[in-house]
Subunit: 191 residues, 2 copies
DNA sequence: CGTCTATTTGAATGTACTCAAAAGCGGTGG
DNA sequence: CCACCGCTTTTGAGTACATTCAAATAGACG
């Protein structure tokens, strides 16, 4: 039933069955229809999400109305706008379902209770945080010196199989190129 | 004497004088000569640094030997390779002094003792972490849709006065452009 | 089935790069 | 303190990577 999220906990902390049960009580499960916004731009992010099924994206909309995708979050990924969530400040970004999805979620007050109940989760979320940091740092350096094609190959490696599931314009937005150019690149490289 | 770092603490947590004194005992102070590497690529980052005087940079060296600057850290900035430091794993990056500098530093074991002694510091470092996250997220979106010139203006806003202190090739590396192109841009825009 | 949006394609354009050479600047030793 | 050497910055020409715009085609959804 809740195997996916329990396995995810197990990646970083060891929980006896009783604690597993207990931990789950701090999360709720919810279906999310395609295109639903879990976080509207300008709103404060009140929840952390874990994706059980489907795929989300986080993106920033610039002054001219263009979207720029910060990340994709398919099954097994955690997502929230960390700064908005912990500082309870409005976010510049949005979070949206790209497919019919199912997510676990929890609020900051709940999370704090979880930390008190099972302190091991402090460690768990600190590690998540660090992984996110790592991802961002790599992305910055990629963006600094790699060509669009190299970044495209990196994307396919980081999100195996995702390419088939989402629109190309979203991949283009993630890579920082135009859909037209992505299309051309794919033709050239015989994909 | 230690006013700069104490003021920095005060930005996020309130410490009575006794705790201020106590906190300082967990840090050491050291002079760093220009060009000294505080973290060598491939090494594990054992320290967190706070810059009292001077300026550091963090950078990544790619396969072809080119540097790509992740960030600058002048007075009042904290720096470490967060992932390497907390996971005690080798870092892909390096940290170097760009000027004669003076830094406070502390190790992970010391930091953990500090957390036990003055738990408020857990909060302090979590906030630092979040600010770093925020910075990275903005940088990624900038890199995705802004032109080199817009990013250059952003750089000057983020690091006031720094432009006059460091080499242009470093600014170019931070922006992800060639020194030749930065030079041309500066001429055009009449700076 | 029709409508709306996404993708492909092609041509013209712009942004940023490479390479090479000249000029400028800074540190070091005599 | 000056002269020299090496590194940084500037400049210019030619080029490549990625863009815009527009039109044609393909797919998705009600």
């Amino acid at each position: 039933m809740h195997q996916l999220i329990l396995n995810n906990f197990a990646l970083h902390i060891a929980l006896p069955p009783a604690e597993q049960e207990q931990a789950l009580t701090f999360f709720q499960l919810r279906e999310v229809k395609k295109r639903t916004l879990l976080l509207h731009p300008g709103e404060t992010d009140r929840y952390v999400y874990f994706v059980k099924r489907g795929c989300l994206r986080m993106f920033y909309t610039d002054n001219s109305g263009e979207d720029h995708i910060i990340g994709f979050y398919p099954e097994n990924w955690w997502v929230c706008d960390i700064v908005s969530f912990f500082k309870a400040k409005p976010s510049a970004n949005a979070i949206q379902a790209l497919e019919e999805s199912e997510v676990y979620y929890t609020s900051l007050p709940q999370l704090e209770k979880l930390f008190q109940t099972i302190p091991k989760f402090e460690r768990f979320f600190r590690i998540l945080n660090q992984n996110g940091f790592d991802l961002y740092q790599r992305r910055i350096t990629s963006q600094l010196y790699k060509t669009a094609e190299e970044r495209y190959l990196e994307f396919r490696k980081r999100y195996p199989g995702l390419e088939q599931r989402i629109a190309q314009k979203h991949i283009a937005s993630y890579l920082g190129i135009t859909p037209a150019f992505l299309s051309m690149m794919r033709k050239e490289s015989g994909v």
